[in-house]
């Protein structure tokens, strides 16, 4: 019966064969999952790891701690820079496009100038990119990152600066706070879509050493533990903006993805679950299709924002 169901969605101009996307930083750049399933034939889109104009080393070790039903990371956008990224992964990612899987390249920066520079380089070097995700919410870098998305004004400035430099769809990755207000500001500056939420800053202290269990004082919490919080923020944001949303946060099952869609998400990214359950995406997609059919719709779009309050 799947044949009678349309799963295609439009994430601000990025036409996806189904709503499944991947959260940046939890999926490598796709190739790491080819041994688990055919990425290009399965997903609606992948969002690559954040890349800056120049290479970044990322943060010192340790970068990871386990928490109840969650993990906490402080990778800090380790990346080879746009040139290095395109050189290593460009051919593979172009192949994903040919298979019908959209490729969203994530743009990182420490300053507005760096965001703009990275955008310019991607425009020049990444013809395979279906669109871009501007990460203004990484909690793990000193300058830029979350600071750039902390207020509606700061977020709008980044979006306004990046917008003129690409005609491809621009998604903005939002921090887990004030999503209605910041979402409206980003929409008004021309964002084509919003993705939320990024990890929630947390702290884990080694009570014997009195120091952080990670190299940095704070790090980003992700996983099933934050799913309900993420669904609520997607719902709040959906009430505030008219551009499509990509729901992210602790999605580990078709039911989790369905909650995001009902709350107002057009697309849904699988994040932390990719790490501990790397074959989950095909299963989640099948569960999502089964749910949509049980709901008696012929088009998944009928279920976006269909939560009954």
């Amino acid at each position: 019966m799947v044949s009678s169901l349309s799963m295609t969605v439009d994430l601000g101009g990025i036409k996806m064969r189904n709503p499944l996307n991947t959260a940046s930083g939890t999926f490598g750049n796709g190739v790491q999952f080819e041994g688990f399933y055919d990425v290009g034939a399965t997903l609606g889109a992948i969002t690559c790891k954040g890349v800056a104009a120049e290479p970044w080393d990322g943060n010192p070790a340790p970068r990871l701690a386990e928490l109840p039903s969650a993990i906490m990371n402080s990778v800090g956008l380790q990346n080879p820079g746009v040139h290095g990224f395109v050189g290593r992964y460009g051919a593979y990612l172009a192949g994903l496009r040919e298979k019908g899987c959209q490729v969203i390249c994530q743009i990182a920066g420490h300053s507005i100038d760096e965001y703009v520079r990275a955008t310019e380089l991607f425009e020049e070097l990444a013809p395979f990119a279906s669109g871009f995700e501007v990460n203004i919410s990484c909690p793990n870098i000193a300058a830029g990152g979350a600071a750039m998305g902390a207020t509606p004004r700061a977020a709008a400035q980044v979006m306004a600066a990046v917008r003129p430099h690409t005609s491809r769809p621009v998604v903005v990755k939002m921090a887990p706070h004030d999503v209605a207000e910041i979402g409206r500001a980003l929409e008004s500056e021309g964002a084509d879509a919003l993705s939320l939420i990024n990890t929630i800053p947390g702290m884990a202290i080694d009570i014997n050493t009195r120091k952080s269990r990670l190299a940095r004082a704070t790090a980003g919490v992700s996983g099933p533990a934050i799913h309900a919080i993420a669904v609520r923020m997607v719902w709040e944001c959906a009430q505030a903006v008219s551009i499509p949303l990509c729901g992210i946060g602790g999605v580990a099952s078709g039911a989790d993805a369905a909650e995001m869609i009902l709350a107002g998400a057009t697309a849904v990214s699988i994040g932390t679950a990719n790490l501990y359950d790397p074959t989950c995406a095909p299963r989640i997609l099948a569960e999502l299709e089964e749910w949509a059919e049980d709901q008696g719709v012929t088009d998944i779009n009928e279920l976006i924002g269909a939560f009954e309050c």
């Binding site: 930083g25 939890t26 999926f27 490598g28 190739v31 790491q32 999952f33 080819e34 041994g35 688990f36 790891k49 080393d57 990322g58 010192p60 070790a61 340790p62 970068r63 990871l64 701690a65 386990e66 109840p68 039903s69 969650a70 993990i71 990371n73 990778v75 380790q78 996983g223 099933p224 932390t272 990719n274 790490l275 501990y276 359950d277 790397p278 074959t279």
Partner: protein, 271 residues
């Protein structure tokens, strides 16, 4: 991408019993036995507790490609390995593997020196098997805090391991304990010292606590001997997707333990 071949496989428990104080010996049946190489690792899902979402990365002692079985040795240190130690014979779950880059054979002619500290023994045992199969002679240093932690069975196997080896000279297996309750009273570096000063080696292989490996690597370099180290890191995925298991490099920047390692040339690592 070497990691592109990492897959999820089923495994079932054939044996799971205590081998020494805090150390367990297990045997699992899994298809990955046919493709995993010496020094690589697997990332096991231990069922039961949904609040612990990460898998457990484990190196291995021996993989039998024909029987599709893998022998494991692991220390029960945290909640995950405790749950693993409670898996019953017949219990099934999944693992991700083969993960990472394993040991490589010496690039020059000559004998190898293997130095294992604590639960660093499994990958060292796998290296010994690899060397024996290649007909390369080796000596071994095995260290532990105290006698109760020593894996007597494995030490005997290391002494008698012969498969294909051309015995250019008698193999020496030096056992040491920090408290002197067995063998040499001292650290593995003490046992290593008398060997490396009296015999010529083409390659040192080591796995154990980070501070011990740093000492072993330093001594190897001082004697101009190439050194491979098998590092341990907490891991989010085990196949290069999350970049959480970074290893600081001597040249600056980071490599990923799960993808570029766990085995590194000691000279690449910032100790």
């Amino acid at each position: 991408m070497g990691t592109a071949s990492v897959a999820e496989q089923e495994f079932s428990v054939l044996l799971n019993e205590q081998a020494a104080e805090g150390i367990w010996r297990a045997k699992i049946a899994t298809p990955v036995a046919a493709s995993i190489a010496s020094g690589q690792f697997m990332n096991l899902r231990v069922p039961g507790d949904g609040s612990h979402i990460l898998r457990i990365p484990l190196s291995f002692k021996h993989a039998d490609a024909k029987a599709n079985t893998i022998e494991l040795l692991y220390a029960v240190v945290g909640e995950g390995t405790k749950r693993l130690s409670q898996m019953r014979v017949g219990g099934v779950s999944t693992l991700v593997g083969p993960c990472g880059r394993g040991w490589w054979l010496p690039k020059t002619e000559g004998r190898a020196l293997l130095v294992a500290g604590g639960v660093g023994l499994p990958p060292i045992f796998a290296a010994a098997q690899q060397l024996a199969d290649a007909g390369i002679g080796f000596d071994v240093v095995v260290g532990n805090h105290t006698a109760e932690r020593h894996l007597v069975k494995e030490i005997d196997e290391l002494r008698s391991m012969t498969a294909g080896e051309v015995c250019d000279c008698e193999r020496r297996v030096v056992v040491c304990t920090d408290d002197g309750t067995l063998g040499l009273n001292g650290f593995t570096t003490d046992g290593m010292k008398e060997l490396i000063e009296t015999r010529a080696y083409a390659q040192v292989y080591t796995c154990g606590p980070n501070v011990m490996m740093a000492g072993v690597a330093k001594m190897a370099m001082e004697h101009g001997v190439a050194c491979q180290v098998s590092l341990e890191r907490m891991m989010g995925c085990g196949f290069g997707a999350c970049s959480c298991c970074n290893v600081a490099l001597a040249k600056g920047g980071y490599a990923l333990c799960c993808q570029d390692g766990p085995v590194f040339d000691a000279q690449e690592v910032a100790w």
